[in-house]
Symmetry: C2
């Protein structure tokens, strides 16, 4: 059900022929109302794909009728021809739905620097428009997959209203292992400015703290659409909490399916002077290839954790830091503590606890290990 679980949405996923594999590659999610409020956040990469450039314009009035998404090509660094393809795609959706093209968002994922086959995209839009269904959420979630091994979906139900979502990729808004595309639907009655505030808060502590491989995509986009079909206007705090739960759930699913990963690593930083410091420290560890390769080898090499956090500008003394791995404190105040042999890293889930001992702020950054399969999948990428 996913994006079609909340009232007021229909969706479809079809095969437009953009992927060599012949798998489904075009999704359409439509808000059937009564209201069409929306918000979106985009990659912070300065190199932005044509669909991102288009969608940023289209979201500016806070009204979105539909989102159309394709896998099989990123439509990035494809020049004027590529932008015209994104525009034509929105126009085609608008025509089929009888709405304005300026209220249709476009998302793409795949190889950068190749033109999309516009005719195939437009034929796919026609087929998806025909296939729209109030239980088309699953098909939509499947058609946005690239290297994903499973579709990622979520449903959060509250008293009289709900939030549904689908995601592809493994990464974060900035950075991303691969392009991360997310569509979230809800039947609450909230205006676009409330949705925007809730979405920014939710993504800040979920997708923005998933850093699988430190690489920022040109195509990342998270779209939230609200139909008001439930007739309920929840308190904004309550809605934001539910939306954060939905985003965090999807972020965990992205982490669990990250390309080639064999460990899901949660880096919890506590005792920080500020939340920004905690995030900076967590991210520095998440991006350290030596640490990530050690985890792949089940090696609790805490020296690499400390070497990584030493590169940050966060406010703390590296020689006062405690580090625990899976519950074993291996470093206390910058010196060896419990023997590293006590740490068991054979499970997929790894917890690194870093106590900066310099305040009360904290944050958790999620990442993955660096594996042979990661290298293989990303050296052979051609989806």
């Amino acid at each position: 059900m996913t994006v079609t679980a909340p009232k007021g949405f229909s969706a479809a996923g079809v095969t437009a022929g953009l992927k060599k594999s012949g798998r489904p590659d075009l999704s359409l999610v439509v808000n059937t109302g009564p209201k069409k409020a929306a918000a979106a956040v985009f990659t912070s990469n300065r190199a932005q794909a044509n669909p991102v450039i288009w969608s940023k314009q289209a979201i500016s009035d806070g009204v979105v009728e539909a989102v159309v998404l394709n896998s099989g090509g990123a439509n990035c660094f494809t020049g004027a021809q590529g932008f015209q393809t994104a525009h034509a795609t929105a126009e085609a959706v608008a025509e089929h739905l009888g709405v304005s093209a300026g209220d249709v968002l476009v998302c793409s994922t795949g190889l950068i620097g190749e033109q999309l086959d516009r005719e195939k995209v437009l034929a796919g839009v026609a087929a998806a428009s025909e296939a729209l269904s109030s239980d088309g959420g699953h098909n939509a979630a499947v058609a946005i997959m690239t290297t994903d091994t499973v579709p990622k979906t979520v449903l959060i139900e509250r008293d009289g209203w709900s939030i549904g979502g689908m995601a592809k990729g493994a990464g974060m808004l900035a950075p991303g292992l691969a392009t991360m595309l997310v569509v979230i639907t809800t039947d609450v009655d909230l205006d676009s400015s409330a949705l925007d505030a809730a979405l920014r808060e939710a993504t800040r502590v979920s997708f923005d703290r998933l850093d699988s491989d430190g690489c920022m995509s040109t195509n990342d986009q998270v779209t939230l659409m609200a139909s008001a079909a439930s007739g309920v206007t929840p308190a904004i705090d309550e809605f934001t909490a539910a939306l954060t739960e939905a985003c965090s759930d999807l972020a965990r699913q992205l982490q669990a399916d990250a390309e080639g990963a064999s460990h899901d690593i949660a880096i919890e930083v506590v005792g920080a002077a500020s939340e920004d410091d905690a995030v900076e420290v967590g991210r520095a560890v998440a991006r350290n290839n030596l640490f990530k390769a050690a985890v792949f080898g089940n090696d609790p090499n805490w020296g690499r954790v400390l070497a990584a956090i030493g590169t940050t500008s966060a406010d703390f003394d590296p020689y006062q830091v405690d580090v625990s791995m899976n519950g074993v404190r291996v470093c206390h105040a910058g010196e060896p503590d419990q023997p590293r042999d006590l740490v068991d890293l054979t499970q997929r889930s790894v917890h690194v606890l870093i106590d900066l001992r310099n305040g009360d702020a904290e944050a958790t950054v999620l990442t993955n290990d660096l594996t042979h399969d990661y290298v293989h999948e990303n050296s052979a990428y051609s989806s």
Copy 2:
């Protein structure tokens, strides 16, 4: 000959027993004068090993009698006991040479968070002191190797004076794949402030632009010692140029022997508004795991180059950029140009040329690809 090629130096490399492998692991390089001027640069990591903390104090007066270096342990995050070991090592060298411990620098490389066996180190110092020889440079270069497959040495000869050097590791002053230790000797007669200026300029455009895997070591140190034994005082520009040549040569050797690498990648950025912009852009590409994995797979995935440079704050328009790989311009003004199939990446040497078309500044950053062997070596690290 290496560090003992210039007049006024002796050196030795011995087996102290710090490495499980039983290979040589302790080196000593001594300036026999007549003068003892020196300069050094250190890792910019805030987490600094005990030998770095010691050496920073010892270099402050610009006088260095000797450098003692060990592999088999980083002596980092080892607390007061570790600092005492570094201090005792310098004291032992000083006693054997009849000099002040405050004029002896200490360098260590190996695993972080383990105490060095002090008795073995001191016995090694005694053995090295006995073995000192004016042709001991090769042995010294061998005894600092860790995962290095070959010793790295250089000799630059000028009219009446010379520069010799040895290096271990693969990386840079900041960051480093593994700890980078370098000792450079010269028989010129220059004071420590001139040496310091020359060394900072030379490292800025050599070691500082080698970024094999984006990871910054806690132990990096480059030491330059001048004996004045040639009696020659070259023009500072001439000396700086020769020193830069020596450092660049060693940097290329480090790159060529980087752990697990199958490609040496030179990222040349031209048309930048400033040299800082060019370095920032080059470094962003050098640290992009997706790009590095693509090169491993001989895949000219230029979209990953553009996605990487889009994350920088350098002054340019991502949609005006040209990218060439091994002589084939695959992207022109942000659009596909020559077919990527024309790019041959099967050779070890890869040249990526990025023209930002926004000025006259340029810089080249050296890196390596991300390979299965890199993951393997760094997941199984225990030297």
